[in-house]
């Protein structure tokens, strides 16, 4: 492949759009935070639409759509469906897009919530729906996890989307990272840490800085929830607290209901 060959095998430079749904915009900011490499990354793509950085309008045709944020309105549901139709590759970035993340916390008992914040819900809010991950509305080709994303993870995934890769995302939980880092385990101190059931891949960033994992990479498919609850009991941590904490990034994950 020459350097201008995209994943579709055409010789054109891949046309990319970046779209933000319900989010804090932090993941898009993380992309701007690769300052030193920003122009190198942008040099490989034709960035056709990035509302955060440019007033050019969204084009009719493009190859790759990068989506940040959770789907929380009918309008954004239609938008992601349109993006799926137009783009060959969809990259969901950040916890909001990949797990519904923090906005997903509002999914529980959603129907009463708008009325508890507004006396009268303004029309400008649009047709609000219970928050969901992008992947539960359309098929997603690549994910960049974490809240917020690591900018270099994004570059890595973008490279894979553009040039192809046989890398398989690990589904292991975080504990192996702490063992390798020799940071010890919060459970030995009676402190809850969600790394026990959360997907690895961030090198246990928070634990390395003395703070337990809050689970922003989402529940690992390999997680053994009954065993984790048992570990909580053994460490004197109320299981209800563990389950409540897990809601933060996994409220809409069906695995939480089953286990």
């Amino acid at each position: 492949m020459n350097e201008n060959t995209n994943v579709q095998g055409t010789s054109a430079v891949p046309r990319v759009v970046v779209v933000g749904l319900a989010s804090c915009f932090g993941c898009q900011l993380q992309i701007t935070n690769i300052e030193a490499h920003l122009m190198e990354v942008l040099g490989q793509i034709d960035l056709q639409y990035w509302q955060l950085a440019s007033s050019d309008p969204m084009p009719e045709e493009f190859d790759v759509a990068v989506i940040e944020g959770a789907v929380t309105t009918e309008e954004s549901e239609h938008l992601v469906e349109e993006l799926r139709q137009k783009a060959d590759t969809i990259i969901a970035i950040g916890a909001c897009a990949t797990t519904a993340g923090i906005p997903g916390m509002a999914a529980e008992g959603f129907i009463q919530r708008p009325g508890s914040v507004y006396d009268l819900v303004p029309e400008a809010c649009g047709e609000m729906i219970s928050p969901r991950a992008v992947g539960s509305v359309i098929d997603v080709d690549y994910e960049v996890r974490c809240c917020p994303i690591d900018a270099y993870d994004f570059v890595d995934v973008l490279q894979r989307a553009l040039y192809g890769s046989n890398k398989i995302d690990s589904t292991a939980t975080m504990c192996g990272s702490c063992k390798r880092n020799e940071t010890g385990c919060f459970y030995t101190k009676g402190v809850m840490c969600l790394g026990l059931v959360t997907r690895a891949g961030c090198d246990a960033r928070c634990v390395n800085l003395g703070r337990p994992c809050n689970g922003c990479r989402g529940l690992s498919p390999d997680a053994n929830l009954p065993a984790a609850r048992e570990a909580c009991r053994a460490a004197g941590i109320p299981v209800e607290d563990f389950d409540k904490a897990l809601e933060m990034f996994n409220q809409t994950d069906p695995a939480l209901r089953q286990a």
């Binding site: 804090c24 915009f25 993941c27 993380q30 950085a53 929380t72 507004y118 649009g126 928070c206 800085l209």
Partner: protein
Amino acid sequence: MTKTAIQVDHIARIEGHGNVHVVIDGGEVKTVEMNVVEPARLFESMVRGRRFEEVPYIASRICGICSSSHVVTDLLAIERIFGIEVTDRTRALRDLLVYGSYLQNHATHLFVFAAPDFLGHKSVFPLADEAPELFEQALALKALGNELCTKVGGRSVHPITAVVGGFTHEITPEEYLELAEKLESMQEFAVSAVDLFHSFECPDIQTEGDMLAMGAPNRYAVSDSRMARFIDAALSFDCDEVDRAIEEYSVNHSAALCARVRSTGKPYFTGALARINQSWQFLGRQAKLAAAKVGLRPPERNPFNNNVSQAVEIVDALERCAELCRRLANDEFEGSSEPVPFQVKAGFGVGFTEAPRGALFHELELDDEGRVVRASIITPTAQNVANLEADMRILAEKLVADGAAADEVQLEIEKLVRAYDPCLSCSVH
């Protein structure tokens, strides 16, 4: 006479989703609306019932750029309720974190969002070829803000280390000194940016609204005073009284709640321009010089000068942060930053900081297990929307009276919106 409708859907280069709607009929400005259409994430309902430790972590996600401010503000509210006194070292670190977000925010806003307007571009990217030195220095300044937040908070967006009572991690004295040097080396560019933003031509308008900023007897306070002040109304209040001083109300065309001064009914501005008006005399030496040189001093009421005010604050932040870093390296602050012990108890408390974009209040009520009974978050942009609409009207009327064409009115209004540096994701939350 003709009727002109200006509609800008999804205004670009601001944080969040907003539309501008202006109707001019027969030379008269009829309608001026800022529609905030950002999806509501309903944070206040989300944190209800959750334990206090999780609240700053969740509230941080209101906004990527202002995440440090949301975390610190929530910590202040919780510590107010529990009666926690943190050490001077912790206070210094929090100042650094908040100032780090000033550097990030102001550099991003000024160079990536605002400057292209004045240089005739749709984005900052053409500057890479056209003015490579400016482009590189601007990115370097932004990167330095990120580095400061990363060193202190563990990450440039959504800090990790700031917790109730202190910090879970600190860098080494050598790293503080290295940061101090980098901050000092950026000063020359920052001073030139004040001149640059002053040189951009802006319409001469005066806001008629009030201004709100943190006040303190002897300093340019951003995170360590509980006193807020409406400058025109000459009304000072403790942040616990925020509901009595500020009236929030909803309008149909905006998903953000609007705000006005309760006693006078006036809309108001909060942000760098209000802080400059409130605390100009306490700017650092270099910042004060840079401001004086371009004639920025109170009373300054042109909202476009929020841009220059932010540029002055960058100079100020660099100076202050370098000093803080040196003092942290030399262990000049009382106590360590390790979280102090505390007892969970029920109560009500308000946290207040000057976020990069203005006054930020978090009201919290906790039960005796430390779970949230009620939370209310008043963000800078939510407070600014009503005043922005009033200023948009003043601007449109002036331009129409001067015989400006519709596309010019539109461009100037977009510039004004960006000068306010709105964060619509914050405003709706």
